[in-house]
Amino acid sequence: MKLRLGARCVIGGLLALATQLVGAVEAGTSASHEPFAGVWQIDSPVFAVRTMTGEVPPLQNAAAQVYHRHIAERKQGDTSFDSATWCASVGIPRLMFIDSPFEIMVGPQHIAFMHEWNWWARVIYLKGALSSSVPPLRRPAHIESTGIGILPPIENVMTLGPVGLSRGEWVGDELLVTTDHLIDTTLIDSAGLPHSDALKLTEKFRLRSPDVLEDRIRFEDPQIFTRPWETVVTYHRKAGERIHEDVCLDRIKTGEPAVRE
């Protein structure tokens, strides 16, 4: 009798577990992922990103020269090397470093990072969210020709861009995100750290506590860096708050900086 009851319990338990798993896979989310949702703000804004050991990222010689030129130009008040000066996107990963909040929404196939800064959003595509065919890289036509009012083509092409293409997966309670297709017209940080079109980011998001989100970022860009390197940033939850419409071009019109430093 006890064995029979135990067997039933095993079957019942396994089936219940299977049902939960089917539901979670179907929805693409689980209760452990929901706490990522909310409005977040960086604890310590990053002006010049450093490695985990506090060092300048391991730059190739040519990239180091560019970086130091940017630093020198900024000291002289010339930020024309930084396209964010005229409100072009600061891009990824810099959006994760600046002093501006963002909201995360978690969907079954997509996770949206909606940044307040100039209302930029990054979409993280989970398994099944993107069509399987990925055409070769190319720059968007509207950047080659003109910046205003030109329609991009309808095709689902995988162009380069400032936010790039982020693919993610849940690994236990962590969100693992890889990002590439990042155009080299943006900078990694406000100090002027350059990158190439080959930059690949691997981010591990986890909750250190219910109200503290960690983003550990690994940088790979063999054209710029001598080896992969990592950094980590944390964000605190802004409970009960919303993100607001922020229009960079209107702000610089009144003399405010494009990016708060």
């Binding site: 319990c9 089917v22 072009a88 929404m105 997509h110 968007p140 991009p152 861009g161 993100i243 209107d250």
Partner: protein, 296 residues
Amino acid sequence: MVFAQAEQRQSDCVAKHPWCFNMKCERILPIVIGLMLASNAHGAQGPQNNMRDFSGTWRDWQSTIGKTQTNQMFVIGVDLPYKPATQDLTAERLEMFKAGRDRASPHLTCRPTGVQGFTAQKGAMLVVQSPQQIALLFEDDREVRHVYLNQQHPTEVKPSYTGDSIGHWDGNTLVIDTIGYNGKGQLDEIGTPHSMQLHLVERVTKSKDGHTLTDELTFTDPEYYTGPFTKTRTWNLFPGARLRDYDCAENPREDDFDKLTFDNDWYKPTCVRPVKDGKAAEKVVCSHSSSHADTP
């Protein structure tokens, strides 16, 4: 008596086998099987069967016809209940549009497009939703709309390009109520106007086959129109789409701004890339001389 025995067996089960949780093992089995079957059936048909689940990627049905796009498809300002002055203004903007001298609107000067961003929308749209909010993200013009569910508008709405949107479910129809526009935007590509008084009510419904979203938009703007009017936009399910980056402000070529008609200096650029003899300069030049300009 039977229940008492079952309770005892359940108690024994839980004591010996933690995976029994707190379920009544003897009776839960058929329920679990039923739930699992129901869950599998749902999975086989996909989430589109949930009429209140709009999540996923969509595109403007009109802009995919024949794989060609014409600006006619973006025009909403036909046979509207114009006030006489509004009709004149719209006609004037239409002439500028036809002549390639478009009005320097928020859309063309890389601000949030506002209403035109989803009535004249061109690329894919992503919907992400939670019980508290439905977010609509558009590839082009990179609009982001936050629709807060089952909430009230703030007592004092700060005017913005995008407005303040709240929503609720009327059966399986999502009703979106938007106010708080800053009056700088327009309703369509040619410049059909709206004011800060615009009150926009949308009724968004998913088709039973899950492949279409229909957005019925009712505009009320007593400053420019004699009465409310309604237009409909339709979206097709567009699974697998990637929203590409659309960085409008990336390259502020001087000659692009030269093509525009500025009825407000606010939209004149702070930074431009000078162009001489058709060749763009390497450096963008910024002038903050208008730093104390008043907003329009």
